[in-house]
């Protein structure tokens, strides 16, 4: 089983990826479906009995999940390289525009400790770390900054701090 960092804890991943070797779609209590598959077989997935997640590729539009967002327990956004930045926008849109409250997971070879702080500020709360990443360092990386300028979770923005201190 994969180990992932979820809400600041290292846990065994209880999710399975549809299409992955050895995964029994019908028998999995929690299944992640690639976005293209989800769209193509929408009726089938809407009727899926277990917990359901969708995995977005960088070019996928997060808004296209609007209709089904209540049904989803997890959305994964892919960071295939450390320089790929579209996942940050997907995270922001899912949290702020679609009001997604479930698990938002960063996946892919680009999920490295030096990016976790900004990923977290875009709403990601679980991380499938790239190969070779050390979990203890990754945990610490989430707390590298005690301040940030933009209004985003989990660190309150400097704007908010400045004016609450003044007022």
């Amino acid at each position: 089983m994969r180990r992932i960092l979820r809400r600041r804890e290292v846990v065994e991943d209880d999710w399975r990826l549809a299409g992955e070797e050895g995964v029994d779609e019908a028998g999995s209590p929690a299944l992640i479906v690639p976005f293209a598959d989800f769209r193509t077989h929408i009726a089938k997935w809407r009727a899926y009995p277990g917990r359901l997640g969708v995995r977005l590729s960088p070019a996928d539009a997060a808004e296209d999940l609007a209709e089904d967002i209540q049904r989803l327990s997890l959305v994964a956004a892919e960071f295939p390289t450390a320089g790929e930045g579209r996942g940050y926008t997907q995270g922001r849109l899912l949290r702020s525009r679609l009001q997604f409250k479930g698990e938002l997971r960063a996946v892919g070879a680009g999920v490295k400790q030096d990016l976790l702080f900004i990923m977290a500020r875009c709403g990601f709360d679980s991380f499938e770390l790239a190969a070779g990443q050390k979990v203890e360092e990754a945990l610490k990386a989430l707390d590298r900054y005690s301040v940030a300028y933009q209004p985003a979770e989990p660190v309150p923005s400097i704007r908010q701090q400045r004016y609450s201190a003044a007022g």
């Binding site: 960088p58 539009a61 450390a82 320089g83 790929e84 930045g85 579209r86 940050y88 926008t89 922001r92 702020s96 525009r97 490295k112 030096d114 990016l115 702080f117 900004i118 990923m119 500020r121 875009c122 590298r144 900054y145 005690s146 301040v147 940030a148 300028y149 933009q150 209004p151 985003a152 400097i158 704007r159 701090q161 400045r162 004016y163």
Partner: protein, 551 residues
């Protein structure tokens, strides 16, 4: 100027700690070259031809004397006692040791400076008019808005890994001394009929290998909407900008491919959808930042004639190197970094320290860095100008050539940069030697030469009245010349006059070009005006007249 509070300070301090740890991991082999590259670039660190290059941000070009002193000290301690000022209000150190960079950044943080996002595919240092706050033609001082943008951009969680670099410039004057229309976003301060502050917004300008002039995406953006609208533009760009081809990844390519009308609609839709969760700028927030940019304690003075009866050298300096000030009795004085025999934009540690001391005595302790790679003392009493000139002359910083042909912009070129095809600094010297006669320079008047060592166009050659681009031909350095480019309130891209010329003939070709101007000009006409009237043809015909080697 803006002063960090403990939150701003905590942010830059934590950034230094982070980069120290990243550098340690790289040196210990825990981060690969590629992994470290993305991180170091966002801290201003390039690996160049000979050594690393560190690009330090000077946000909107404003420096306190203690900051300039610190830059001098850093250049002496960690480099070869000089630095290079760039067209985007940064200072580049060409010879720092990689392992020293965390210490340099820590030193910078002690004077409220940083190198955050001065390179890499992210929002770069925000730049402004060097005459901000003192220009006679200004709608409003752009610097408070630049500071607001600086804070918004620093480690913006959504926009730190964009398709490509992203540059923003703000101007408060129609003269646009910040070249804002060749930026990814250019903001022009405006007032509406009720007197409210806002911005005319340009998008999609940029130079590089596909030069484009920015287009108006919004005629008037009210100030409270500034950040939410910038967020909307950046979000559309982050989603739809090309990531498959580095040469097509700037926002200008996206704007061109979908067209400004459709791009505007996309941004508008995104903006409307996001406004609920992107609260506007509050008046108290704007006022807080504005309070740092209040005019200094000017004395009540009259304008006086300081040049009369003085030596001709001072009169020339006064005429070319000083500018009118909105407050009577004051003038702005350029510190020319274009002395002949010197690399454009270079300044030694000793000069930095001396200028810092001078600014403390005569200009409220503030120094400005200009787009044209000079410095400026913004608030000098006219009665002090003669003494200032004498002191600058002693420092080698009083070359009376601002606005003339030898006040040229040049990138560091082949001598430092690993991208360059050409030794721009040699060509600059050649031009300085060819045009060493000041009377001849003054007769030619206002001519902007801009030179880049490669098509990345760091020297802004596309928008030079005379643009020079270094190209590689079978391992030899050749130079392509363009005419008619401009910024400063009328942005235009230059036209190529014909085949490129070998290095040895650049200065003589330019001399033939300016001779066409001298022959064709009408009363009081500047070079660029003559060019616009007669077109490129007469220049083309005579630029090559005396040699046949062009290929």
């Amino acid at each position: 100027m803006y002063q960090y509070d403990q939150l701003d300070q905590a942010f830059v301090d934590q950034r230094v700690s982070e980069f120290r740890d990243q550098t340690r991991r790289f040196l210990a082999g825990e981060l690969s070259e590629d992994e470290f590259k993305l991180l170091r670039l966002r801290n201003g660190l390039y690996i160049q031809r000979h050594a690393p290059m560190l690009r330090i941000a000077i946000p909107y070009g404003l420096l306190a004397s203690r900051q300039l002193r610190k830059l001098g000290e850093i250049a002496r301690r960690y480099d070869r006692s000089f630095g290079h000022f760039t067209t985007r209000q940064n200072l580049q150190l060409n010879w720092p040791k990689l392992e020293d960079v965390p210490d340099i950044l820590e030193q910078l943080a002690t004077v409220q400076m940083h190198a955050i996002q001065t390179s890499g595919n992210c929002i770069r240092n925000v730049t402004a008019d060097h005459m901000a706050g003192i220009a006679e033609d200004e709608v409003d001082d752009p610097r408070p808005y630049c500071e607001i943008i600086r804070q918004w951009a620093n480690l913006h969680p959504e926009f730190t890994y964009l398709p490509r670099k992203f540059k923003i410039a703000v101007t408060g004057s129609p003269a646009d001394r910040a070249a804002s229309e060749v930026h990814d976003i250019g903001l022009h301060l405006r007032r509406d009929k009720q007197g409210n502050i806002g911005f005319q917004v340009f998008v999609g300008g940029g130079l590089g290998r596909t030069p484009m002039i920015g287009q108006v995406i919004r005629e008037f953006l009210p100030l409270p909407d500034l950040l939410s609208y910038l967020d909307a533009i950046l979000r559309v760009y982050n989603r739809y900008g090309r990531r498959d081809n580095i040469h097509k990844a700037r926002i200008k390519i996206l704007v061109k491919s979908v067209g400004i009308a459709r791009f505007r609609d996309q941004v508008e839709t995104e903006w409307q959808a996001a406004r609920d969760i992107a609260p506007g700028l509050e008046a108290s927030q704007v006022e807080r930042v504005r309070s740092f940019f209040q005019p200094p304690a000017y004395e009540l003075l009259q304008n006086i004639d300081v040049a009369a009866g003085r030596e001709p050298e001072f009169q020339a300096w006064y005429r070319y190197n000083t500018r009118p000030h909105r407050v009577a009795g004051y003038r702005a004085a350029f510190i020319s970094l274009k002395a002949h025999g010197q690399n454009p934009g270079d300044m030694s540690s000793g000069q930095m320290e001396a200028v810092a001391a001078l600014a403390d005595r005569v200009s409220f302790g503030l120094i400005r860095v200009t787009h044209s790679q000079n410095l400026l003392l913004g608030d000098v009493r006219q009665s002090d100008l003669y003494a200032v000139w004498k002191e600058l002359r002693g420092l080698g910083l009083a070359m009376p050539n601002i606005g003339t042909l030898t006040d040229m912009i040049a990138c560091p070129g082949l001598d430092f940069c690993s991208l360059a095809n050409a030794g721009t600094l040699n060509v600059a010297k050649q031009i300085q030697e060819q045009f060493d006669d000041l009377d001849y320079l003054y007769d030619l008047g206002d001519i902007e030469i801009k030179m880049s060592g490669c098509m990345n166009a760091c020297g802004h050659h596309h928008v030079g009245h005379i643009g020079i681009l270094g190209v590689d031909k079978h391992g030899e350095e050749w130079y392509q010349i363009t005419l008619g480019g401009s910024v400063n309130g009328f942005t235009a891209l230059g036209e190529v006059i014909g085949p490129s010329v070998p290095q040895a003939e650049v200065a003589s070709t330019i001399e033939r070009i300016v001779e066409v101007y001298r022959a064709e000009r009408e009363d009081g006409e500047r070079f660029i005006e003559t060019f616009r009237r007669i077109g490129v043809k007469p220049f083309k015909e005579r630029a090559y007249a005396t040699h046949s080697q062009a290929a």
